[in-house]
Every structure is written in structure tokens, then in C-alpha cells.
Amino acid sequence: MVELAVEAHDITKVFKGGVRALDGLSIQVEAGKVFAMLGPNGSGKTTLMRILTTQFKATSGTASVFGLDVVREGKEIRELISYVPQEMSVWTDITGYENLLIFSKIYGIPSSQRKKMIEDALEEMNLTEFADKIVKIYSGGMIRRLEIASALLIKPHLLFLDEPTIGLDPAARKTVWDKVLAFKKEVGMTVFFNTHYMDEADAYADQITIISKGKQVANGGPDALKASVGAETITVALACPEPGDGVVGSLKGLDGVGDIVVNEGTINIHVKAADRAIPGVIDVLRSNGVVINKISTSMPSLDDVFLKYAGTRLESTTSIKDIKQTRKRIGGG
């Protein structure tokens, strides 16, 4: 039997004012794996993470971390986990070393081990050189690495990362992930991260749960999820209004065609082999008077998975609050 790091059953969370952030969500995360919660901003990822990290209670449902109940055994859980929230979570008016020193004291690390653990964590995250510099002058990527360093100080069994690379440039994103995974390999911890970057979930996660509006829409390994939407996708950009249901019906009748999703002037057709299906697709569209603007083929991505199960694209749901948050982080907060 596999050990479960996280188990949540039928979680709902209704905030004051009636906002339903989670709506009957259940997940299971295997210990020692990298788990990604993928969904657009506002889909309930952060709320679930805050419930699992014992910050507040769910409205209904049960959840446990390494078999410990998140409501009744919060203190025991907090001794096993670390958490890096999406927002900046270090003090910017003291140095990097001082931040780690304060956190090590809050965690109750004995003074005899403190210095070594801090130095190791700084080394691990490539921050030794900047240890005595005030955090205000750090770049976004360095601040993120400092936050992760402070979370790894206690060598947690489970590391929660909420949007770990939001607002970082691609090089900094890669560094953050390389460091987290190297550390994971060394100590064998479980990583639970929230993201709205599909490429990140695809590249780093062993298991992905896709959520939308507080509900799970799909769950599985990245390859299995992609395979579930078909082998390849033909994307047709239309020059005319939406095609009728008749057109979609005729397309479905073609050999080797799977799901079809019509969205904002494009048709996504999941097929077994794109090169064989294209002639038939073009014939059907032309004979129905549909004017084609552009046609392209692609291997399936998690975006297609999301589109199939949630009926919308990931990017289209970003709110002004998220944009502000991201910009703030880019600006160094």
C-alpha cells in the first residue's frame, strides 16, 4: 500500500459573503512524489493549500496530511511541513542571513545546529554571496530562493509551494525548480505545488490535478492526461462566424476524429493522426461554407486537457488582482 502525504475528501469552503472557493474537492497525493494543482487564478488552489497547511478550516469535508487530521492535529502537521505562499514572505528590511536566523528560531532549531543549517540552506539556494545583503536589493528570483531556503531549513517531509515561480523570468524559474528538485532528491520529501503554468506542471509533476471553479476536472500523470484528449490536435482558425452543430457533427463522423471543442472562432479537433485527417477536415468545412483562416497541428498540451475538461482556456481567467500581484512581485515588492 502506498503512503499518502495528503488526502482530502469532499472539501468545500464558502467564504463570508458567499464566495464558494472549493466545491466538493477530493485529492490524494502519494508520499515522495511531486504533485501539481493546476488551474486558472481564482480556481481555489490557494484556498485548498491554506486548508491543508492548517491556516483555516474547511466549511465541510475532511483532510489529512501524513494521516494527521488538519483540524485536530495542526501542530503535529506543522512540524512536518513547510510552506511558501504566493506573496512575498520574507522581511525585506533585514539581510538574507537574518531572515533565516529568525525563521530558525521560530522553528525552534537548537542554537548548536543553527549556523550550519542556515549556511547549508544558503549554499543550497546559491545565496551565500548575498547572505549579508539586505533583502530589498535582491531580485525576484533571489527572494523566491531565499523563501524556499527558509522553508527547507527544517528539512520538511512535505513542501507546499503556492505559485512558486509567478512573476519570474524563464531562467529564474528554471533555477528555482532545479534547486527544489535537487533538494527533494537529497531528502526524499513530497512536493505539493500550485501553478497556472501548464509547462511547469507538465515538466515537473508526477501527478496533476486540474481544478476549475473549486472542482476537480481531471487527475492523472501528465502523459496520461495528454493522451486522454487524443494523440494530436488540429486547430482551425475561422474567418467566419461559429460553425453550426451540423458541421461539428459531420467532422465527428470522419475516421480517426475524437473530441471537438469550439472556442472563440477556433475549432480544436483531437485526432489519432493529423496528417491523415486534415484532407477530410478541410473537405467537410469547405462543403459547409466555412471559411478557413489558418490551420495548424500540434501535439496535445495540458492546455488542451484543461480546455477539454473545463471548457475554457487557462489564460482567459486572469483577474486584475492576480495581475497586480504578479507585477508587484516583478517590481521586487
Binding site: 497547511t53 483555516f56 506573496e87 512575498m88 514572505s89 528590511d93 528560531k105 521560530i106 525552534g108
Partner: protein, 254 residues
Amino acid sequence: MLIWLKNIGTMIELELRRLRHDKTELYIRAVQPILWLVVYGPIMGAARAVPTGGIPYTDYITPGVLIHSTTFVSIFYGLQIVWERESGILKRLLVTPSARYAIVIGRAMASGVRSLFQVVLIVPFALLIGVRFRMDVPGFIGALAVIFFSSGGFAGISILVASFMKSRERFMGIGQAVIFPLYFLSSALYPINVMPVVLQQIAMFNPLSYIVDAVRCLLVTGDFSNLLLDIGVLILFDAIMFALATLSFKKIIE
């Protein structure tokens, strides 16, 4: 209990480290109380309008001005907590093994550090204009302890207020609205018995009256007749504020 104390110690250390890097705010915050002392004090003293029981007016108000200034510092310390909510630091602290009340009390008591620095900045100006302190080391240490613990209580008020305020701007307004009534309805600037009866009754419920009285007897008058009552009120005030702040903390984080 031990962890609880350690936590407060860590929060105080954090505050000291921050101050080491940037003391500007401390200096700016000291300007106003110094003006009360060197401008308002001598003018009102010369007018001889306030019966102070035979002690010079500037001597009389010095403890009040010290407490006013440290109350300011502590109440606006809540701003820090509003900022920490907007950032991720509070969330982060909640996911450490520390108990929630230890985080709240630790954050509140850390404001006491800033308050003590205020005292250090203001006292030389008081000496300069001729305020005669009782030159009594235990008395001075006692006064510092009263100031330190009262700051914790007032920071507790600010955490409570912060739990209702969703933005810093609103907090600024409310902060002022809390501090001035506390100040004017206490014995900081004049004895309570010169106030109209209704205001006297309100002043009796104002913790600041007792705190000022304690500091005044320890630093200036040497009349300890009410000291036990004063300290009792201070302990009660801190206990209630810490309890309310811990309860309201839930609202801050959700």
C-alpha cells in the same frame, strides 16, 4: 510556556535587527513628543492654568508625553501587521509549529522595543528643558517595564483594529481616532479632577490614565499610593487585549 517566551524573544530580536538597519522612522516619530515637551509644556506651564500639585508643569506632563509617544508607536505597529497580511509573512508564520497566540503576543510585544527607543530619544530633551526626574535606578527600570508592557497592550488594540480594516489608508485614520481620545481623556496633560464629571468618569475607564500615573510616580513624584492599582490595571489591560487580538487574528488571516 518556554516556547511562548522564546517566540516573544525572537520577535523582539527581529525588531532590533530591523532598527539596526533603519532608524529613520524612530527619529521621525520622536519629533512630535519632543514638540509637546519643549513647546507646549513651557507655554502651558507659564500660564499656570493647570493645578499639578506643586510640581512644574513640564515635569508633570513628561510621563504623559512619553506614554503618548509610545502609544503612537504601538498603535501604528498594527500597520506592520496589515502589511504582513498583504504580504505572505503572516501566512508563513501561521504554518510554523508556534501556537497562534504566541505569534500574536510576540508581534505585539515587539512594539515595546520601538517604544523603549522612543524613551531613549525623548528623555535627553526633557533633561535639557530642566525636567527633574527622581534619580532612582529601580524607579527608572520600573517605568521602562510599564512602558514596555503597555506598548504590548496597545499593539494588541492595533491588531484588533487591523482585523477590521482591509487597507492601510483606513487604518491610518482609525489609528488617529483611537489615540487622541485616549490621550486627552487621561491624566497625561492635566489631572483627571479638573475635567467635567462625565469626562472624569470616562477617564476612569481609560487604561492610559493608570499607565501614566504609574510612570509619573516612578519617574517624577515618588507618590506610590496608587502604583499597585495601576499595575493591576495594566496586567488586566494586556490580558484582555492579547485575548481579543488572538481571537480577532482569525479574521486577519482568512
